[in-house]
């Protein structure tokens, strides 16, 4: 009876078989080019052909808008458009069937109530609109390291792959942090970008050559215990050693927060705002993806603690999570240490929760939840940044809520410089000029900090320069400047040089 009508069914990817693996390329994206390069190494390591999608461009916004329902947030539109433009080009060059056969797309899925967990619906709609409904798209759940099916397929989301991706993200974060700490102060323009390219290529090889263990628990233990990646980062450190920096340039420190994709992205998707901020004379604190992973790891503790009966079983689970967390943070700190402890520490998730708690409940899920408030306060109160720039997609559901709650935060911390930037993708001047207004104030703050720090040293700038010349190691990008209670690098640096003179 019901066969007379074909009721609507959603997209189901046709199989990607083990036999097709050698001839098929896995497409992915959504991170920075550095992270993506390392993730590519992980795929290759497991004998997959993989390729990141080209970096997001303005044209992707138009392509995405054409094919998905109206009212989508800009990360959805950009990422859909990026896939669309890539496939359009492939179809034009190689034909439809070859494109369908040669590629599959892997994307992150599951994010509770936020639209991020439903991006794939937009991708599927776009594929349908392009007449490519047979194109294969797979979801990688962020909260499951082992999604291996019973029967091996073309793509096996198992512990080997997931651990590789997580470690690539951690190493990518360390590398990115080094980049943003160095470039604003480089003496030779372009030096940092050159070293970054070299380092990413080197680390790509490192991930590609990652030793494999057949047992998944053996693989897990190896990742936590081996010095393989820390050794590789020591090689990268040597490359950064060669970059000379001048940290007496007074620049405001701008912490970037926001919706996951927008804050991570480097390109047209967020008006290239990180580069723009550097061009405007600031130092940017990029958001490590590792904080998000730390949040995913930590939040089950709160959910377990909220259970009506916290019995022995639950306590055991909580102890296990805490143990994993220690290993995770320990691994990140090992990588930091390999880079001379120059990259920033990860914030403590409990502290972020406590800072945000008067303003935003920590169990409100979706997007970055309470973390946006926690991070802004963390940077402000610890004097890690002169201002926070929060990147929110137009119509982002979770971000608008915490952004609204920031009104309460600013009421109690009126000296917190906060620039919430709504990003639509096609209103660059408006967004950047809004950021500019707060940045002007941040510049004044960093100048005042420097004047105050110099006054504390009781030295002239010439004298400070002389100390610097006598200690050439301080001019290396890998030299760690201790924190003397100022947000801007120049103020801390001046005080540090003064302390060297005293010694």
């Amino acid at each position: 009876m019901a066969t007379a009508v074909t009721h609507y069914t959603s997209y189901k990817a046709r199989p990607f078989t083990r036999e097709q693996r050698d001839k098929t390329t896995i497409l992915f994206g959504g991170l920075t080019w550095k992270h993506e390069r390392l993730v590519q190494g992980v795929f290759n390591n497991l004998n997959y052909n993989a390729k990141p999608l080209p970096n997001i461009a303005r044209a992707d916004l138009d392509a995405g808008k054409e094919l998905i329902d109206t009212g989508a947030c800009c990360p959805t539109i950009f990422t859909t458009g990026s896939l669309v433009n890539f496939l359009k080009n492939e179809v034009a060059v190689n034909g439809k069937q070859k494109t369908l056969d040669d590629y599959v797309f892997l994307t992150a899925g599951a994010c509770g109530p936020c639209r991020f967990g439903q991006y794939h619906e937009s991708y599927e709609m776009a594929l349908d609109g392009m007449g490519l409904k047979d194109f294969r798209l797979f979801l990688l759940a962020q909260d499951q390291l082992d999604q291996a099916p019973e029967k091996p397929g073309g793509l096996e989301i198992n512990m080997h792959l997931s651990l590789g991706i997580v470690w690539a993200i951690l190493v990518g974060d360390i590398l990115t942090d080094m980049e943003y700490l160095t470039r604003p102060y480089e003496v030779t323009p372009g030096e940092t970008d050159r070293v970054m390219k070299e380092s990413a290529d080197y680390l790509f090889e490192v991930f590609q050559q990652r030793p494999l263990r057949s047992n998944k628990y053996g693989m897990l233990a190896w990742h936590f215990l081996s010095g393989y990646f820390a050794d590789a980062l020591r090689v990268v450190r040597k490359k950064f050693d060669a970059i000379e920096v001048d940290r007496l340039q007074v620049k405001p420190k701008v912490k970037i927060t926001g919706e996951f994709w927008l804050q991570t992205h480097e390109g047209d998707g967020n008006y290239n705002i990180k580069r723009w901020l550097e061009q405007e004379g600031s130092e940017v604190m990029p958001p490590p993806v590792a904080v998000w992973l730390g949040y995913l790891l930590h939040t089950p503790l709160w959910r377990l603690a909220a259970k009506p009966n916290v019995d022995r079983k639950i306590r055991m689970k909580m102890a296990m999570i805490r143990g994993m967390e220690k290993l995770y943070n320990g691994t990140y700190n090992r990588f930091r240490k390999a880079m001379g402890n120059v990259p920033h520490e990860l914030p403590d998730q409990e502290e972020l929760k406590q800072l945000a708690s008067p303003f935003f409940h920590h169990e409100l899920r979706g997007g970055e939840g309470h973390m946006l408030i926690g991070k802004a306060l963390h940077a402000h109160l610890h004097k890690h940044a002169n201002m926070t720039c929060e990147l929110s997609p137009y119509s982002c559901m979770p971000n608008t809520m915490s952004q609204g709650a920031m009104a309460n935060v600013l009421g109690r911390h009126p000296d917190l410089l906060y620039a919430p930037i709504e990003i639509k993708g096609d209103a660059e001047v408006h967004a950047l000029s809004r950021c500019q207004m707060i940045l002007t104030e941040a510049k004044k703050r960093s100048q005042s900090e420097f004047v105050e720090a110099m006054a504390k040293t009781g030295l002239t700038l010439e004298k400070i320069r002389q100390i610097e010349e006598k200690n050439p190691k301080v001019k290396k990008a890998t030299y760690r400047i201790p924190h003397y209670g100022y947000a801007s690098t120049a103020a801390n640096y001046a005080l540090h040089l003064a302390s060297m003179r005293a010694n």
Binding site: H7, T9, C114, Q118, E121, P308, F360, G366, S395, M397
Partner: protein, 375 residues
């Protein structure tokens, strides 16, 4: 609140708050927003959340007798009839976090609640997991209402019981409407919207305008989920293993995390198959990020078997009365012209023995036969 109000009322009554001391803010309206919410908004977002400023303001400034407590729960998950058939039953991220956002507008300069002698309470509740709720309510409300854990547990039980009774009654009423349509070969209209669209200031009573033309209206939230009816509609698909159960939506929606979205998708499936629903009215508010990815799938689901589909999107504070009237006239025209054809078409797709067409005697016999058969 629109889908859980009975819970809250019963909870408060059980802890000793008398009915006359429980005050709901009035229906949303532009006037309410202007008079009580002006200057309190902290961010541009969907209207159902923006409108909350007016509600808070009305409760603080618009009461003849001053209130002592304002309770605005942060509902993390919802007690959906689809629980167990979907991945999760989460509330929309804006609905759950809305109270924090709106509260900020009343705290940014000074504590308006405190200044007016009002205690503000926003319990965070996983309503889809009843076992979690007593502790959550107790932790938040123990000092506000001076209650102990045992009282809280009793009040939560009373709340869930009241909600269940109300929902069952509403579902039974909807079944009566559907039965009447089936027995009289009359078409009816299904509203696919979120619970807050029942608020006349948010849904703008569009369905009432249509009802005025004589078409019965049913809301997806209160569609009957009786076994006999669902087996008739979805039984063949379950047998063919296209779906695991009549309430399974995995055939049309992969990420079944959001409770209201899940219900909308299922409602669309119901509307697509139930013969006497000849038209589906989709309501969606301005900037609703939960609805946005569902626009095309719901339309495709509904239209697959020929059911009429009309969407009123981007609903905001102002009721566009003129355009609504014109569209209602259009809908009425199509309903009158095509309903009979649609009903026959859809009836032909289903087994002959519709439970709504059987009288009580026949239903009882059928039920006995099915029990005997299963033995």
């Amino acid at each position: 609140m629109w889908s859980t109000h009975q819970f809250w009322v019963a909870f408060l009554r059980e802890i000793g708050i008398s009915s006359e001391n429980i005050v709901f803010s009035s229906d949303t309206s532009e006037e309410q927003g202007r008079e009580f919410g002006k200057g309190r908004g902290t961010v541009d977002c969907c209207y159902p959340v923006k409108a909350m400023s007016g509600h808070y303001g009305e409760l603080i400034f618009g009461q003849k007798n001053k209130l002592h407590i304002i309770m605005s729960p942060m509902i993390y998950s919802l007690p959906s009839f689809m629980r167990g058939h979907t991945s999760e039953n989460l509330a929309c991220t804006r609905v759950m976090a809305g109270p924090e956002n709106i509260r900020a507008g009343f705290m940014k300069e000074s504590d308006v609640f405190g200044d007016n002698g009002i205690k503000y309470a926003a319990p965070f509740v996983n309503m889809a997991e009843p076992e979690m709720v007593p502790k959550q309510m107790y932790d938040c409300l123990k000092d506000v209402f001076d209650i102990d854990m045992a009282e809280t547990q009793r009040a939560v039980d009373a709340g869930y019981n009241a909600l269940r009774v109300f929902n069952e009654k509403a579902q039974a009423e909807t079944r009566k409407v559907l039965t009447w349509c089936a027995r009289n070969s009359k078409p009816c209209v299904l509203v696919l919207g979120r619970p807050y669209h029942m608020d006349p200031g948010i849904g703008h009573e569009i369905e009432a305008d249509l009802q005025a033309y004589g078409y019965p209206i049913v809301w997806l939230q209160y569609l009957p989920v009786d076994k006999d009816l669902l087996d008739w509609i979805f039984g063949e698909e379950v047998q063919a293993k296209k779906i695991r159960s009549p309430l399974d939506i995995s055939d049309v929606w992969t990420s079944s995390n959001s409770s209201n979205t899940n219900e909308i998708m299922w409602g669309a499936k119901f509307g697509a198959r139930f013969p006497w629903i000849t038209c589906v009215l989709r309501l969606s508010s301005y900037e609703c990020g939960m609805d946005q990815p569902t626009y095309t799938p719901t339309q495709k689901i509904v239209e697959a078997a020929g059911t009429l589909f009309f969407k009123f999107g981007d609903l905001d504070s102002t009721k566009p009365a003129g355009s609504i009237r014109i569209r209602i006239e259009t809908i009425v025209h199509y309903l009158a012209k095509y309903s009979e054809k649609i009903m026959n078409q859809k009836l032909a797709l289903l087994p002959p023995d519709c439970p709504l067409l059987l009288d009580k005697q026949e239903q009882s016999e059928k039920s006995l036969a099915s029990v005997a058969g299963s033995d």
